[in-house]
C-alpha cells in the first residue's frame, strides 16, 4: 500500500542525524536510545502494518523529566517527534517518519497510586490498559474503557486515540473516564491538567488533549476513574439468520430504553475465525451473532434479559445461548477481543472503524457487503453494535500489491459510506495516517482549519506526529 504520503523528511534534520543521536545519548540513561539502523527496523510500523517508515532514533525515557528533555531538544532543533505507546494502533498513529525521533513510553510502566476512597488510579503512561484493572480487581474495582487490545495497549495510547471498547456503551470511552494528565509540551514544559477533582478550572484542555493523537504534547502520567465492579455480569449469545435482523434488533433494544453494558456483533466469517481461536462455543449455524452483556444483581440481569429476549424474538432470533459459568463468559470475551488478531490465521486484513447512527446499521452492513464484493474481496464484520461503531475487516493478501490496493480502495469507500449515513470516519481507533486523507469527506475546510488552529496553539511548528490526522495540503504555514 502506498496511497498515503508522509511528509517529506526535513533535509536539515537528516543531515544532522549523527549529532542528534549523540546529543540524545547524552540526554538519556544507558539503554534508553535505540539508534543502530538495524535496531530501528522493528519500530518502523505499528499494528497498521501496511505502512512503514524508519525513524531517525527511538528514545525510551524512564521519567517525565527525560521526556521533557528530549522534547525540548527536538523543539530547539526542529526535529519531528512521534509518540509511541505499545504500538498497537490500527490507524498507524505510531508509525514514524525518517526525520522523526520516536518517544516510546514503554519503560514508564509503573502504577503510581491507587486511591480507592476517591476511586482513582494514577499511572505512568506506559501502563497497559488491562494492568490498571488487574491492579484493582482484588478490591472490587475496574477501569472501564476496554479496547480489544487492552492486554497490550497503553493508557498513554488510549488517551492519544480516546480509545473505546466493548463496554463503553454503558461506561463511556477514555475521555469520560480520564480525570487528569501530566502533559509534556513540545518545548519541554511540564503541565498538569485536571486531577482528582472533577471538571476543569479553566478551559477544558484535558478534553482536547484526549484524542489528539500525540499532536498536542506527550502524556506521561494519567489519573483515571475507577468503578466498583457490578455484582454480576452475564454475556448472552443471540444468533440470527441475517445481519439485517441482528442490526435491527440492536436498534430496537436501545430504542426500548434498555442499555446493556455491551452489544457486540459478529457475522459468520468473524464467528468462524473467533471460534477457531477461542473455542468459546459460539453458535456456528447462524449468519450473525450478538453478544449482549447485562450486569447487576441476578434479578436485574434476569429482568433485562427477559426484555431483550422478547425484542430479539420479534426479529426472528434463531439461537439464544446464556453462558453458564465465569469460564465460559471469559472465553466468549476472549474470542471477541482476539477477533482482529485471530483473523491473521486466515488472511491479512485492514480494519475499518466508522461509526453510524444505529438506525443506519442494516443499510451500512448491506453497503459494506456490496463494496467488498465489487472489489472481489472478503470481509468479516465484528464490532460494537450498541453504539454503531463498525469494524469491517477487509481480508486481502499483503504479498499481492494489487490485492492490497483494492483493499485500501474498498476501505475508503466503506468509510465514506459511514460518513454519508450520518456517521464518522473513526469511532475509537483514531485518524492516524490511515484516514487522514478522508478527513475532507467529513469536515469542511473551515472545520479543519479550526481544528488545525487549535493544534497549532499547542505546537506551532507542527513537530508532534506531523504526518497524521490532518491532510497534508491546506495546512497553515508553520
Amino acid at each position: 500500500m502506498d496511497q498515503i504520503a508522509f511528509l517529506e523528511p526535513r533535509p536539515a534534520v537528516l543531515s544532522r542525524r549523527r549529532e542528534i543521536v549523540a546529543d540524545l545519548l547524552d540526554l538519556l540513561p544507558e539503554g534508553c536510545l535505540v539508534h543502530e539502523p538495524r535496531e530501528l527496523v522493528p519500530f518502523e510500523t505499528d499494528a497498521f502494518v501496511s505502512y512503514r517508515r524508519l525513524p531517525l532514533a527511538v528514545a525510551l525515557p524512564e521519567t517525565t523529566q527525560q521526556v521533557a528533555a528530549v522534547l525540548k531538544y527536538c523543539h530547539r532543533y526542529g526535529v519531528p517527534v512521534v509518540p509511541r505507546g505499545a504500538g498497537t494502533s490500527l490507524a498507524g498513529g505510531a508509525i514514524p517518519q525518517e526525520d522523526a525521533v520516536v518517544i516510546g513510553l514503554s519503560k514508564m510502566s509503573r502504577i503510581l497510586e491507587v486511591d480507592f476512597a476517591n476511586r482513582t488510579a494514577t499511572v505512568q503512561a506506559g501502563v497497559t490498559n488491562l494492568a490498571i484493572s488487574d491492579a484493582v480487581s482484588a478490591d472490587g474495582y475496574f477501569y472501564a474503557p476496554d479496547p480489544s487490545s487492552q492486554l497490550a495497549c497503553t493508557i498513554g495510547g488510549n488517551i492519544g486515540m480516546n480509545s473505546g471498547g466493548a463496554h463503553c456503551l454503558k461506561y463511556g470511552v477514555t475521555t469520560n473516564n480520564l480525570l487528569g494528565v501530566k502533559l509534556v509540551l513540545i518545548d519541554g514544559t511540564i503541565v498538569d491538567l485536571g486531577g482528582k477533582a472533577l471538571d476543569a478550572g479553566g478551559l477544558d484542555l484535558l478534553a482536547v488533549v484526549c484524542g489528539s493523537e500525540g499532536q498536542l504534547g506527550i502524556v506521561t502520567e494519567a489519573t483515571v476513574r475507577l468503578i466498583a465492579r457490578p455484582e454480576g455480569a452475564r454475556p448472552v449469545l443471540f444468533g440470527f439468520d441475517t445481519s439485517e435482523e441482528a442490526g435491527a434488533c440492536v436498534a430496537d433494544v436501545i430504542g426500548a430504553g434498555i442499555i446493556p453494558v455491551a452489544i457486540e456483533f459478529m457475522d459468520k466469517p468473524a464467528i468462524e475465525i473467533c471460534e477457531a481461536f477461542a473455542q468459546a462455543g459460539y453458535p456456528m449455524d447462524v449468519e450473525a451473532l450478538l453478544i449482549v452483556e447485562v450486569e447487576g444483581s441476578e434479578a436485574e440481569m434476569d429482568a433485562m434479559l427477559a426484555s431483550i429476549i422478547e425484542i430479539a424474538g420479534r426479529h426472528g432470533v434463531k439461537v439464544v445461548k446464556e453462558c453458564q459459568s465465569a469460564t465460559e463468559a471469559a472465553l466468549i470475551w476472549k474470542g471477541r477481543k482476539s477477533a482482529f488478531g485471530a483473523t491473521g490465521r486466515i488472511a491479512d486484513y485492514i480494519c475499518m472503524d466508522g461509526t453510524v447512527p444505529l438506525g443506519q446499521l442494516p443499510h451500512v452492513l448491506r453497503g459494506t457487503a456490496e463494496i467488498v464484493a465489487k472489489y472481489g474481496l472478503r470481509v468479516a464484520n465484528v464490532f460494537h453494535a450498541g453504539d454503531g461503531n463498525m469494524h469491517p475487516l477487509i481480508l486481502f493478501n499483503a504479498n499481492d500489491p494489487e490485492d492490497a490496493a483494492r483493499a485500501e480502495a474498498a476501505g475508503n469507500e466503506i468509510l465514506k459510506l459511514c460518513v454519508d449515513a450520518g456517521g464518522c470516519l473513526t469511532g475509537e481507533h483514531g485518524v492516524g495516517i490511515e484516514k487522514r486523507d478522508l478527513m475532507r469527506h467529513q469536515y469542511s475546510e473551515v472545520d479543519l482549519a479550526q481544528q488545525m488552529a487549535v493544534r497549532a496553539a499547542f505546537d506551532p511548528q507542527w513537530l508532534l506526529n506531523p504526518s497524521k490526522v490532518f491532510p497534508l495540503e491546506g495546512r497553515p504555514a508553520a
Binding site: A197, D199, N389, Q450, Q451
Partner: protein, 399 residues
Amino acid sequence: MTPIHEPLSEEAAARLVMIAGLSATPFSISGGGTRSLLPATDGAEQLSTRGLNGIVAYNPAEMTMTVRAGTPLEKVEAALAENRQMLAFEPVDLRGVLGSSGIPTIGGVFATNASGPRRFVAGAARDSLLGVRFVNGKGEIVKAGGRVMKNVTGLDLAKLLAGSHGSLALLTEVTFRVLPMPETAVTIVVSNLNDAEATAAMATAMALPVEVSGAAHLPESVRGRFVGGALPDGAATVLRLEGLAASVSVRAQKLADAMAGFGTVSQCDAGLTQRLWREIRDATPYADGTSRPLWRVSVAPTAGQQLVAALRLEAGVDAFYDWQGGLVWLRMESDPEAALLRRYIKAVGGGHATLLRARPDVLAATEIFQPQTDAVTAIQTAVKASFDPAGLFRSRMTG
C-alpha cells in the same frame, strides 16, 4: 445600556461577528442570562443566542438530540420527558442562588458545563455532548463532532467548548446524548454523621455494587433548609439509587444494611427523592436572596471535608457537599476569602473554586475562576486566539 444582539439564524450570527470584527467591537455572549457571572463591562455588546431556537432533530431510538443553542432548557426537557428520556447530567439551575431571572437555554447549559448531582458517575454536560456548530471569532461557521456516540475523528472541539463560558465561540447548535429516565428512585438517609464520617460512609457506598447515582452530605446547619425540613433531625448523608423498581428495592436494602454501621438509616420515597436532589442540584439553601459570597468548589471527594474543616478555623463558612464530597457549595459570611480558599485547596491536593455570587464590586475585584499556572495560562491564551484571534468574545474565563 449596551446593545443586545439576537441573531435569528446561524448565518446572521456569523455575519454579525464578521462585521463586528471589522470595527473590533467586543461581545459578551449569553443565552438566557441566568448563569451570567458578571454583567459585561468594558463596552462589550451583548450577543445572545435566544433567537436561535428550536429542536432540529430528536431520535429517541438513537438517544440523541440536536437543538439550536438558544432553545429553552425546559423545552428540551419536556420533549425528552415525553419519551421518558432525560439529560443524564442534571443541569444545575442557578436562578435561585443568583437571583437571576430569564429562561435557561441549552446553549448556556453546555457553555457553562452545568452539571448536577449525577455528574460524578454519569459525567458532566461535556460528556453528553456529541457535536456542536459554532461561530468563531472570525465569523466562520464551524462544526465539530457529530451525532454518533463514538467519534474520535479529529480534535474534540465540542468538549473544549463545553465549559468555555463564551470565551471561544458562539455556540449555535448542540447535539447531545440522552438517557432513559429511571423508572423510580429512592434515597437512603444516614443521619447524624459528622463531615469526616459522612465522607467515609459515602466512599463505602461507592465501593458497593449498588450503583449509587447521588451521594451528598448535608450538615446539620443546612439540613433543615432542604425539602421543607422533611429529613430526619441532625446531619443527613443522602445516597440516591435509581432504576427499575424491583432492582432499586433490592439495592436499597443492600445499601441500607451496609450503612447501618455508620448511623441511623432511613429512606425517602420517589417523590421526596426527586425534590431533594433537585434542591441539592440547585443549592437551594443558598437561594437566600442575599449576595453573600457563594463558591462552587471541586476537589477530590475525600478532600472536601478537609478543606471545610480547615477553613472553619479562619473564616465564617457554611457548606454542604455533593459528588461524594468532591463538590463543596460554600457560602462565606462576608468576604469571599479567595486567597485563603485557594491556598487550602492547594493544601488538600488541588482542585478549583468558582465564585458564583458576591456583591458586584467584590465580583469585579475577585478572580472568579481558578487561576491557572503560567504554562497553562499560556496555552489557554493560544487556544483562545485560535478561535478568536481578535479577542472579540469577552469572558471572565480567558479575559
